[in-house]
Every structure is written in C-alpha cells, then in structure tokens.
C-alpha cells in the first residue's frame, strides 16, 4: 500500500494524533497535547499500530495514586487544616466540631495537632479545643502533605523527590489516602512508515462518514474519501428470532404436514383415565406410581363425562369386555382413574382423537409435537418437561410393515436415512417396537422412540369398532441437542440471551 493510500485510510482521530507523535512519547504526555479523550487517543494509536505507523511499548510499573479520601482532601483541604480553621477564632466543643468533621477525622486531627503543639485540649464534661500560636503558624504554612496533594497523579515512585518520599510513608498510614497501583506505562514511537507519513502533507479535509449534508451540498466532489479498512471485524448485531427449540419443532411439524398428517393439540392436565386407562395401562402399573408422574395437590381429581366409555374401559380392564381379550383380571377403580396428572405422553391426544373418529373419517393420520412431563429432579441429562413427537395412522388396511415405512420417511427428512425397529414393550401397543436410527457420525444405532399398533383393548372401547391404529412417540431432545452441540439439557430452558442471539438457525 502506498503512503498516499495509507494516509487516506486514516480516521479523523488518527489524523489528529499523528502530528503530535515524536520519536518517543509517553502516553499520558500525548494525551495532554491533544484535545481528545484518553480513550480516543488510545484507539487512534492502536489503529495506527495495526497499520504499522507506530510501535507501542508497554511496561508495567508501580504507581501511586490518590485514594478516596485523598481525592476528597485535595478538593476540600486536609482535615487538620479544616480543624484549625474551625477553632481559629474561638474555642469549640467536640460536639460542635463533629457537625463539620467526620468522627474518624477528628481523632486523627487531635493526635496529629497535639503532636505539633498546635492545639490545647481541655475537658469540661466534654472535650474543648483551642488553637495555639504554633497552631496559627501551622494553619498558614503550606504543609508537605499539601504539596504532595498537588502532584500529578498517578505518579511513579521513582519520580518522587526525596522529601516527598518521606511524606508518602506518613500518608500511607492514613486511611484511604493513598493507594498503590500497578499501571501500564505506554511509550509510543514512530516507525519508519510513521515518520514518512508524518512528513507527508495530510489533508484534514476528507469525507469521513458520508452524510446527507455532503450529498445535498455536493461538497464530496472536491474531497477525498477516507479509505476504510474493510477487512477489519465490526461489532456484532443480532436480530429477533424464534427460540431454537421451536425452530426445530416447526420443522418437524412441517414434515408431518407434508406427509398428509393433521395436527392434534390439547390440554396438559388430564385425568389418569385419558392418559392411562383408555390406553389399557393397568392400574397397578409402576408408571402410575408417584415418583414418575406429576399429580396435583389442589385439583386432585377431575370428572369423566362419558359414562358409557367408563363402563367400557372398566370391563376391558377387568375382563376384556367384547375386545376378545382376557383383560387384566383385576378390579378397576373409577376413583383412581379420575386422578389428575400432567400428561405423561402425548399419546393421550391420540386417545382423545380416535375417540371422536367415525368409520367415514378413515383413513386418517394425525401428529402432534407437544410437551410431556416426568417427575425428575433437574440435572444435565434430565428434564421434567420435554417434547414428544407423536403420530397415528388410522387405516383399515394399515399394518406393521407400514409403520416402519412412515418412520423411515420421517427420519429421512430429519437427516437419518436408516431406521430400524427392535422388539419393545408398551401396555397399549401390540406388536410394540423400539425405534433406532443409524447415527452417521457416531456410527451406531441410537434409540429414539417407541412405536406399535394400538391394542384392540384400546381401539374398540374408544372407537366402537376395530381398526388398526399405527402409533409412535419419538423423542427429539437428541436431535436438537446434537444440532446445536448442547451437552446440558437444561440449556434448552436457560434462555441465555447471548446464546439465543448467537446460535445458528435451524437449517434443515
């Protein structure tokens, strides 16, 4: 890059600072020579360093600076001087003094002034102070402490004169007067390029930010444009967006919609009847026990309106009713079925949906992507609520081989072309199957959900006739966490805004 081009790249801050630079100059000195804020000078020299115009040497040094009280005294005067000022004309009681001065300061002053014979202290119920002639001298003479306060802070220890060094050791004993700090002392030196550039006559009249004014007046025509460093990084911005989990949910929904499925939605709080009993889960099934399922405290039980259905479900559980099954051969309690819970699976939506279907509605396909609840203590791999992807196909001609077909179609679109099923067990499906997908990176099968054909003990009581209902419930936690490389499941609900802003979009 030529010097001219380089000069065109200079920002107005750099243009201001550059002429002030010497072979070597301290940063603080530089700041004092230009009419810019310290931060602006810093920016200018850093940019110039990036352009190899200057070199910055940084040394860490111990420096002395005024602490809280030091700053205050510099403004208001030392407390001992204030003290004397107050009793200059008449003696005063300590109660009067303490209206003007801080209690700690008074104590320091008494000690210090007595040592210098500047005051006399008497006691008459309370302390009374009067000034001495020495005190008057003390008051009128500028003390070394006051001279010290006039120094240019921060200052390095080496720069102090000998008597100031003595004063320093006194002042260090006083509370929050002086503080020692580590400070970076920067020295800026011009490089060869910098020297040459400085010699160049740099026009300060350039177009920096193109403005509406420039355009209206046409003033830009006579000027050069400052060249930008277009390769440099700029501050990040971020836009509004959907939560990343919901981006994935929308995608999953779109797949099922493309495959001709209707969306099911519904409540989160259900009676056990709909969540479990209609699905032929026996009433003593371990999944119904307290530790797995959330039950409610102040809305313990609900009601079941369809009495005919209650009768059917009771009979089906107890003896199979007309389903051709033996049933569970143990008594079924309506009271237990009325207990409310947070839905344990979205299969409850499938049960509700098929209960409303008529023969004329078939074939029909439904899906849902919804929250289900499991009573777990939160940790990095357990959540108490998570999404389940649910699907059913209600079709007189559907069979077990079709089930695999639907799953394969779905997972192909999710980026997992290979799907297999293994024997599994769910109380409401028969046959039941675990669903695995082949993980192309891990090179192994990973379990992703369950599936099967609803048992006649489920379909006949709910629908009034027998028809195969293919069903599946899939987890999507793994798909989401892997896409965004999240290890801790709690991050799905952490709502760290920085993370939400920066995470890439769902691009499948």
């Amino acid at each position: 890059m030529s010097l001219k081009e380089l000069s065109q790249k200079l920002h107005s801050l750099e243009r201001t600072v550059l002429p002030k630079l010497k072979k070597n100059i301290g940063f603080q000195e530089l700041v004092s020579t230009v009419d810019l804020k310290e931060i602006e000078v810093m920016r200018a020299i850093q940019w110039m360093e990036n352009k190899s115009i200057v070199k910055i040497d940084s040394i860490e040094k111990e420096v002395i600076d005024l602490d809280k009280n030091g700053i205050l005294y510099k403004k208001k005067g030392l407390p001992e001087k204030q003290f004397l000022e107050l009793i200059k004309n008449e003696s005063k009681k300590i109660s009067e003094m303490s209206k003007k001065l801080d209690k700690n300061e008074i104590n320091i002053c008494i000690g210090l002034l007595k040592k210098n014979n500047a005051i006399v202290v008497k006691k008459d119920r309370e302390l009374i102070f009067s000034i001495t002639s020495k005190g008057i001298d003390f008051l009128n003479k500028k003390s070394t402490e006051e001279k010290f306060l006039e120094l240019n802070f921060p200052i390095s220890f080496e720069e102090l004169e000998k008597n100031m060094k003595n004063t320093l050791s006194e002042l260090l004993k006083r509370k929050q007067f002086i503080k020692k700090d580590k400070k970076i002392i920067r020295t800026i030196s011009l490089t060869k390029i910098g020297e040459d550039l400085q010699k160049l006559k740099i026009s300060s009249d350039v177009v920096d930010k193109l403005s509406s004014k420039d355009l209206k007046s046409g003033s830009w025509k006579k000027k050069d444009f400052r060249r930008y460093d277009v390769e440099i990084n700029v501050p990040l911005v971020s836009g509004g967006k959907r939560h990343f989990t919901l981006q994935a949910v929308e995608y999953i929904k779109s797949i099922w919609l493309e495959l001709g499925f209707k969306e099911m939605t519904g409540n989160i709080v259900h009676t056990s009847f709909w969540d479990l009993d209609t699905l032929f889960v026996p009433q003593d099934h371990p999944a119904r026990e307290m530790q797995d399922t959330f039950y409610l405290k102040n809305a313990k039980s609900g009601k079941i309106e369809n009495k005919e259905l209650v009768k059917r479900i009771k009979n089906t559980h107890e003896n199979g009713w007309t389903t051709g099954s033996k049933g569970w051969q143990s008594s079924w309690s309506e009271e237990k079925a009325k207990e409310n819970l947070l839905r344990t699976h979205t299969t409850v939506l499938s049960a509700e949906t098929i209960s409303k279907l008529k023969k004329g509605d078939l074939p029909a396909k439904f899906f849902s992507v919804g929250k289900v609840f499991r009573n777990e203590a939160l940790d990095w791999k357990h959540l108490f609520e998570f999404y389940q992807v649910e699907g059913i196909v209600v079709d007189p001609d559907a069979n077990f081989a079709n089930l695999l077909g639907y799953l394969k179609n779905f997972f192909k679109k999710m980026g997992f072309p290979d799907v297999r099923i293994r024997p599994g067990h769910f109380p409401y499906t028969e046959p039941s199957a675990e669903v695995d997908v082949w993980h192309p990176i891990k090179k192994q099968w990973v379990e992703i959900g369950g599936s099967g054909i609803f048992r006649p003990e489920v379909t006949i009581p709910l629908m009034g006739f027998e028809v195969p209902v293919l069903a599946w419930g899939l987890g999507m936690g793994r798909i989401i966490t892997e896409y965004w490389e999240i290890n801790d499941l709690r991050e799905l609900y952490k709502n760290d805004l920085k993370q939400l802003r920066e995470l890439k979009k769902w691009l499948k």
């Binding site: 003593d284 409310n340 079709n402």
Partner: protein
C-alpha cells in the same frame, strides 16, 4: 424396568448352544430383551414387564433356546401329586384371601443355585408382584416342617416366632417396628387388625406374608433337597402365574414338581396347574395385522420358536406366560420370531390431507410479527416457582395449581402467567448486552370449572428492558402487533401492583379485558435483581385468536 444379571455359563449350558459374541448380542436384543452388558461371566439384560417368565437364568434360557431354534415348541412339565394339603381359614377373607402352593423335590442346591432362586424370587417380588403388593412368595425346606399347612389370620401380638436373620423370638407387631424387612413392608399391612400367617401341623409359624419367613422353618440351605412353596395375595390369576413361573424355573434346574390341594372354606383347588391354555389362532387376521403372507406351516414354526404349541387353528399358551391376553399378543411373538429386521418398510399410497392446527398456526404468525421488531423468543418451563410468580411480582393469588409431589423444590406449581418467567430471564441476563427484548407464548394454568378442575389458557407475554424503555416503547409493540392482526383494542387505566401506579392499563378488546400493559414497578424489577427499567404486557392470546377466526 427390571434388569437381571445372568451367569453366562449357566445360560449357555441351559440353552444348549454357544453363540459367537456378536450373534449373541444381536439375538438377545432381537428377542425383545435389551442387552445392557455382556462379558465372559455375565450377561445383563433388561426384561420388559410383560415377560416375568424371563426373570431368571432358566426362564431366559428357555425363551432364548427356542428363539435360536435349539429347543423349540411347547415345554412339557410333569406335575405329580404330593397328597399334601394346605388349609385356608375363612378369617382371611378381608386380610389376604388366596394362596396357591406346590412342592418341589430333587433340588440339587449349591451356592450358585441358591443365588439363582433368590434372584427369581426377588425379581418377581419387585416386578410382577408389584413390590409384594399383589403377591408374595415363600419357600421353605421340607425337612423342617410337617403337613398339613394352615393359612389363617391372627392378631399380630399372637403371632410369635423368630424371624429370618434375627437373634430372638418376637411377635409380629414387634417385627414391624424392629426388623428391617418389617419396617420396609409394614405399609402393606396398614390398618389391618389381623395378619395372615402360615403355620404347620406342629404349630410352628412358617411366615407372615408378605413380610418375612421364620428363621427356624423358612431358610433354605445347600443341603435342602425338597421345598414347600406358597404364593399368597389377592387374586388367583396373578398367584397362579407367579407359582407357575417359579416352579417351571426350578424344573429347568432338574427338580420335580408336585401338586398340592388348597382347601378353601367353599372350594378345593389343586395347584400348580401347568396345562397350556388354548387360544384361537386366526392366520388371516394375523397376516393382515403384520403385513405378512405366512402359511400355516410357517406360522406354526414361528409360534414354536417362541415356545408356543400349535394344533389346527389353536395356539397353546404355556402356563408361565401371563402376557398373552388377546390374539394380537401372538402377533407380536410371531413378529419377533419372524424378525423385526426382516420387515420391509412400505407406505400405502392413500392420500390424506395435512392440516396444521389453526391456533398453532396463529401462534406461529404472532411470533413472526414480534421477531420482526427484533424481539427474541424465549422458552421457559410450565412448572413454576410460587414466590417468583406472585410475591416477587408484588401480587397475591389463591387460584393457582399446585403439584402434589414435585421432586424439584424450585418448581412446585404450574405457572399462572408468563411475565414472571420473562422477569426471571431478564434477571438471569443482566451481564448480557442491552437492550433486551423478549417474548413467549404458551399455556398458563388456574383452578376453575372444567373436567379436570383446571383451566388452561394460552397467553402471550412480552418484556422490554433497557435504559430508555418506558410505557411508550411497550405500547408501540402492542400497537404494531394489533395493526398487523388488523384488529382494534383500547387501553383503560387501571391498578395492578406489578406495575408503576399511573403507568399501567387494562387491554380491552370488544369491551372485554384480555390483559395488562405497563411499566414494571421498581420493587418488582429489584426482586429479580435487574438494574434496568422494564416494561411489559401479557394478553390472553386464545381470545385474540377467536376474534380473528370469526
């Protein structure tokens, strides 16, 4: 789900064939038992709850041996008559009404066998017996007892014996207070005035089911050759299966099974009954269900691979398989025998029309409108914290839904509104860059008139936070939203303790209140540890949707 640890050598000898490791792993998981671990000594598998018959080396090997084709078809177990009986007293009616019993002889016990028997008993107790709630098993060495056996109910103080692994004789009441097993299971006998007890012809106590055996008469050792087995509980159906599973496992060890008479006040039954049950086998139904074209011979072969028998249109179900309730249950076994891996995926070419739920579609549109204003969508839990929902928000409520048993102390209720969740999120993000503008839509819960007694509404909440955020800024968001929806609303000044007085309004649509909007009170802001002004609104989104739908 229960896992069991199997001795691999015992399994291989029972199966009658050693498979190479990879094949062994594959076949185990394709039988419908999840393989957890396998090494030279052990196989650890998860058994699904429908197959309690596989909860032992013997039961697992029986199924596995058939499945890989070594020993197929229905197993025959001979049951000889022992001539001994158990007499059940009518006082048990409301205590523990049923028992089924058997005698097993020619047991060749050693430490390994005793471990296996204890494992079967324990696994059955935990799973199929529902932690001894439905049924409990007792096994007693014959040399220590004298027939007939009596089963009756007595007051706990009157049942006195030395319980298993205990150093002195105490009564049943003391067992419940002192003995670890008594303490663990006493809840099963809660409210009972009398306990059930087995005792023998010498008047020696054998056990107090489902709690504990006697140390004197109820402890088997490696010298035990013959045992008396009882299973007691509340329904004969369950008890019979438990007994059958147990005695057939012992028979697989080489022992002989003998039946007993159990005399009830009104009837006498003979147990165990190991005759297979018959189920109609409808091949065309099965082919249709599975999408296969099996002929009868193939179907018979597949049934036999799963341990069933087949006789002209009828399947013979082994007496240890409680899971076969319906012909469809046979379809799963056929599918397993056929091999899940051998099904060809296919989709019938029937057209159905996809349809997104209209409210969900609306919700998606709302989100898209708001992200156009640079708002970030957040996602919080439906479970909530009582304090944050109400006292942090400077309000009270007595209408919210409480959970009965949540394991998370922080989350004991269902959220009644979403704005507190947004406040919490802002509070968690004070180190991140401002402005912070967020929203969430979703379900909220309150008590009310419905089938469950809980009303679920769908709300939208929105919060803005930055130094320059005020009422105007949040009102602009609401205005923009309603303009995009093409509907009108108005604001009426109101009082709401979450917001600054004089800077809060009710949102009114069609003369009905649908939400609140305003500047959040500094008290509330500080509660959440935020040091930046916040404005927000929350509306009932379902009501807005209903208006649009019209």
């Amino acid at each position: 789900m229960p896992t069991i640890t199997l001795n691999r050598k015992v399994v291989e000898s029972l199966v009658g064939k050693k498979l190479p490791l990879e094949e062994l792993k594959d076949r185990i998981s394709m039988l419908g038992t999840d393989l957890e671990h396998v090494d030279d000594d052990e196989i650890i598998v998860e058994i699904f709850p429908n197959r309690p018959d596989m909860l032992s080396e013997q039961g697992f090997s029986r199924a596995f041996s058939s499945f890989i084709g070594v020993n197929k078809g229905l197993r025959k177990y001979n049951v000889k008559k022992s001539g001994e009986k158990v007499i059940v007293n009518k006082s048990l009616k409301d205590v523990r009404p049923y028992t089924v019993c058997a005698i097993v002889k020619n047991l060749n016990l050693n430490d390994e066998r005793i471990r296996e028997i204890i494992q079967i008993q324990e696994k059955l107790h935990v799973t199929y017996c529902r932690k001894r709630k439905k049924a409990a098993i007792g096994i007693y060495p014959m040399e220590k007892i004298k027939y007939p056996i009596y089963f009756t109910a007595k007051k706990p103080e009157e049942i006195v014996f030395r319980p298993l692994e205990w150093n002195k004789v105490i009564n049943a009441k003391q067992i419940m207070e002192q003995h670890p097993t008594g303490i663990e299971y006493k809840h099963l006998l809660k409210d009972l005035k009398k306990y059930s007890v087995f005792y023998d012809a010498n008047n020696e106590v054998l056990s107090v089911p489902p709690i504990i055996n006697s140390h004197k008469t109820g402890k088997i050792t490696d010298t035990t050759k013959e045992v008396f087995i009882e299973v007691s509980g509340f329904d004969l159906h369950t008890l019979n299966y438990v007994l059958n599973i147990l005695v057939t496992a012992l028979a697989e060890m080489g022992a002989d099974i003998y039946s007993m008479k159990v005399e009830y006040p009104d009837k006498t039954i003979v147990t165990p009954n190991l005759n297979p049950t018959k189920m109609k086998f409808d091949l065309s139904y099965l082919n249709k269900w599975l999408g296969l074209k099996l002929n009868e011979k193939q179907a018979k072969d597949l049934l036999e691979k799963m341990g069933f028998g087949y006789e002209k249109g009828t399947a013979l179900i082994p007496a240890y398989r409680p899971d076969i309730l319906h012909p469809t249950d046979l379809s799963e076994d056929i599918a397993i025998a056929y091999g899940y891996e051998n099904f060809t995926p296919e989709i019938p070419s029937k057209a159905t029309v996809g349809q997104e739920d209209l409210y969900e579609k609306f919700r998606k549109n709302i989100a898209n409108i708001l992200i156009g204003l640079n708002l970030l969508e957040v996602s919080s839990y439906h479970l909530a914290n009582e304090q944050k929902q109400f006292s942090y928000m400077n309000i009270k409520s007595n209408n919210y839904v409480k959970l009965a048993n949540s394991l998370s102390e922080e989350y004991q209720i269902m959220r009644e509104w979403i704005l507190p969740n947004l406040m919490k999120i802002l509070g968690d993000n004070t180190h991140n860059e401002y402005p912070q503008k967020i929203f969430e839509s979703g379900k909220v819960f309150k008590l009310g008139e419905s089938n469950t007694g809980v009303i679920e509404d769908d709300n939208l909440a929105c919060a803005l936070s930055n130094n320059d955020i005020d009422y105007t800024k949040i009102r602009q968001v609401l205005d923009y939203l309603f303009t995009q929806l093409g509907i009108k609303y108005e604001i009426k000044e109101t009082v709401h303790e979450t917001f600054i007085p004089g800077r809060v309004g009710k949102i009114i649509m069609d003369k009905k209140e649908i939400g609140f909007i305003g500047e959040i009170h500094p008290k509330v802001i500080s509660s959440f540890g935020i040091e930046m002004p916040v404005s927000g609104f929350e509306i009932n989104l379902k009501k807005v949707f209903k208006k649009i739908e019209k």
